[in-house]
């Protein structure tokens, strides 16, 4: 039987089970004798085992079986020894890793080192009870080896693995080798590269495969999965010595989840309630009926009938659209499920006592938005634990619908943020002049934390991590056409509020005329619009500018940036105020046309290669209107930082 058709479902379901396992273990840690939790954990592990075994994913099945056995033991004693919590969590992490392997079509990683680890036993007394219960459990289960002691009873399944354990420090990653243009005999060259890599370690697989290369298929990029104990620098050096090798890159096993999802289109599945599917069928039927009505009305020139059919069709389309969006919704729970574990690990590490409250995790959010939101949400929660809470407190993550938006809030009840301190810091970092900092409202001062370069290495703690800063969070929210707001009250705490659209396919746009064309800018990118008289614009310097709220704001002609010819300047200059990298800039356009909702279509090749265009929408008259992304268009500009 071909099992591959069930792969996606297996992956998504197992991820859910893993998320549940994490959550349950954290609960268990707080209530070690909670019988229901132990039962629930056992069932989760049991489900994974069954599915993995059916799919033929041996190691995943073996590991979940191992965890299931362990949990079954706890079930009989009714209690979980303290060291077992970390052991369980390590096992869950390993399961998660195995799933990463399966999702990326890699061989499952080795698990025997984990299986060989001695099982955690709290005290001698408990250990004996546990051992007996495990032995009792084993009798009903042929799959587990029996043994006299606890430590020797469990590792036995490892013996089934006929593969040697990997060396302590082996690493597993992907090597990407690009060949120079016009490489002669590229297939032969790739074979030589594979040979070179074979010297470095175990070659797991390659793309193209060796057989394809032997067939002489030309190849300019070689992707190789390698397990090795050699340093990457060493491998890179060796490869670069091979003739025609243009570049060598390494892609780590631990890529960001969003990237992995992005690259693995096939893994995008969503579960849809069957009643929703029934609705689709009904609506499609209704639409067909309306089409017939339209046909008849057109033939008989029955204008009333035509009008009626059009109105009804419009209503049905709205209805259909609503339901399609529904089908894309996933509960916040899908990503919030990871948070209890993260907060638990953080509390331990920092020695703070932090309680996590999750509210409204059943609120549905567009799946695409949800995926992009994973990292920002985790970052905000880490931040709240790290910087918000001092010694003890509560972090609350909540979601709710607010008009046509979703509001997701991460709040702490710590000491709050000090806007005066933030102003001083921004000046110290050279991000703005003292005069400029003084003009900021308290609310804007809080947003300073979102400036790139605001946090410094000294503040990047192990917890909040490197790389992802508040600037990245803000950019991610902005990319989803959302907004980020920070509200802080001294001694009451700080709230980070993300407001996101229900769907990213439909956004509000500002229609403008520019260089003789109609263009659109997402409203989420527009701070405000202005009409300036000639006298208000300062053209004395190299860079045109105007003053707003005591700040000098550079003015750029949008047409020029897009390679269009700007219209002739009249009495009034129309300006769109936007923000690039935390700096406000003005974009000169010919005139404003209006605002409306637009269905955004992605640009196809080669239009998608153009910088600054994020998509297009189609006007009622069939005209294609490009949507300009000022961020992408201007982010490489050297923006003047002096007011």
């Amino acid at each position: 039987m071909d099992m591959s058709q069930y792969r996606e479902l297996f992956l998504s379901e197992t991820r859910e089970h893993i998320s549940n396992l994490n959550k349950l273990v954290v609960i268990l840690e707080q209530e070690p004798d909670n019988r229901e939790t132990i039962d629930a954990l056992f069932r989760e592990a049991h489900s994974i085992k069954g599915m993995a075994a059916t799919m033929g994913y041996d190691r995943t099945a073996q590991l979940s079986h191992h965890l299931e056995d362990l949990l079954d033991g706890f079930r009989s004693t009714g209690e979980v020894p303290v060291p077992a919590i970390d052991y369980l969590l390590a096992g869950i992490d390993l399961l998660d890793g195995l799933l990463d392997d399966l999702q990326s079509n890699r061989p499952e990683r080795a698990i025997d080192v984990f299986l060989r680890e001695p099982l955690p036993v709290a005290s001698v007394g408990e250990g004996v009870a546990l051992e007996q219960s495990l032995a009792a459990a084993d009798e009903n289960d042929e799959g587990t080896a029996k043994g006299p002691g606890l430590a020797s009873a469990q590792p036995a399944p490892a013996a089934e693995i006929n593969e040697p354990a990997p060396a302590e420090d082996t690493d597993f990653f992907q090597v990407l080798v690009d060949l120079a243009e016009d490489t002669p005999a590229s297939a032969a060259r790739c074979i030589l590269i594979l040979r070179e890599l074979e010297k470095a370690g175990d070659l797991i697989s390659s793309k193209p495969e060796l057989a394809t290369l032997r067939g002489g298929a030309p190849c300019t990029r070689l992707q190789v999965w390698l397990r090795t104990s050699l340093a990457k620098g060493h491998i890179k050096e060796a490869l670069l010595r091979v003739s025609s090798v243009a570049s060598v890159r390494f892609i780590d096993d631990r890529r960001k989840r969003s990237e992995r999802r992005g690259s693995d289109e096939g893994a995008r599945t969503v579960r849809v309630r069957t009643d929703l599917l029934d609705q689709f069928v009904n609506l499609t039927g209704e639409l067909l009926t309306r089409r017939n009505m339209l046909n008849r009305a057109t033939l008989t020139r029955d204008w009333n009938g035509l009008n009626q059919a059009l109105v009804q069709t419009g209503r049905l389309i709205d209805d259909l659209h609503h339901h399609v969006l529904q089908a894309r919704l996933m509960p916040l729970e899908n990503i919030a499920g990871r948070l209890p574990r993260i907060v638990r690990d953080l509390s331990r590490k920092t020695g703070k006592k932090v309680t996590l409250r999750l509210l409204g995790t059943d609120v549905g959010i567009d799946r695409m938005i949800l995926e992009e939101l994973t990292d920002p949400l985790v970052h905000l929660v880490r931040n709240a634990v790290d910087h918000g809470i001092e010694h003890e407190g509560t972090v609350t993550v909540s979601a709710r619908r607010e008009k046509g938006l979703i509001l997701i809030e991460v709040a702490d009840d710590g000491k709050g943020m000090d806007s005066a301190h933030l102003r001083r810091k921004a000046v110290e970092r050279g991000l703005m002049t003292p005069a400029h900092a003084d003009t900021l409202s308290d609310r804007d001062a809080l947003m300073l934390v979102c400036l790139p370069g605001f946090s410094t290495a000294a503040e990047i703690t192990d917890t909040s991590g490197r790389g992802v800063g508040m600037d990245v969070v803000k950019a991610a929210v902005g990319n989803l056409s959302g907004t980020l707001e920070i509200i802080s009250t001294p001694d009451r705490g700080t709230r980070f509020q993300m407001r996101l659209p229900l769907s990213i396919a439909i956004i509000r746009i500002l229609l403008i005329s520019c260089g003789g064309r109609t263009l659109a800018i997402p409203l989420s990118r527009v701070l405000r619009t202005l009409d300036l008289t000639t006298g208000e614009i300062d053209n004395s310097g190299k860079q045109s500018a105007f003053r707003l709220d005591e700040e000098s704001i550079p003015l750029y002609p949008l047409a020029e940036a897009l390679g269009l010819t700007a219209g002739t300047a009249g009495e009034t200059t129309w300006v769109v105020l936007t923000e690039i990298k935390g700096r406000r800039i003005g974009l000169r356009v010919d005139r404003f046309i209006g605002q409306r909702e637009a269905f955004v279509k992605a640009l196809g090749f080669p239009l998608n290669l153009l910088t600054g265009l994020s998509g297009a929408t189609i006007e009622g008259d069939g005209q294609v209107v490009f949507i300009v992304d000022p961020q992408a268009l201007f982010e490489n500009l050297q923006l003047s930082t002096k007011p």
Binding site: P184, A185, A188, L192, R241, S243
Partner: protein
């Protein structure tokens, strides 16, 4: 000790060019052959550290010579010299055990790069 090289090519021009490159790099050219048959004979006689082998030659082709050398001496260091558009022959040679290949027209530094890489002389 200087690297000992054997140059195999039916064209005197190519042999001389390669010889000059190797001599300038401080290597010792211990033998040269104008076809595969002579190449085999001289290989056994002079036991070079490295062979550059033209692919298309009269009497015995470079690939046949390579295969026989590899059978006798699996550790042999043979670099094929091919013309553009001989991809399938190059592939065949690599499969037969050639350590690398040079495509004509070549540049001196590229040739030396390849030789240094496969002989481990940096």
């Amino acid at each position: 000790m200087a690297l000992r090289v054997m140059v195999v090519d039916d064209a005197l021009f190519m042999r001389n060019m390669l010889k000059d490159i190797f001599v300038r790099a401080g290597y010792e050219v211990v033998a040269e052959a104008e076809n595969g048959e002579t190449a085999l004979e001289l290989y056994h006689k002079s036991q070079p550290d490295l062979v550059t082998m033209d692919i298309v030659m009269p009497r015995k082709s470079g690939i046949e010579a390579l295969q026989e050398i590899m059978t006798d001496d699996p550790e042999a260091c043979v670099v094929m010299v091919s013309a553009l558009g001989q991809d399938s022959l190059v592939l065949e040679a690599v499969e037969a055990g050639a350590k690398d290949f040079i495509v004509k027209p070549f540049k001196e530094d590229k040739v030396l790069e390849i030789v240094r890489r496969i002989t481990g002389q940096h």
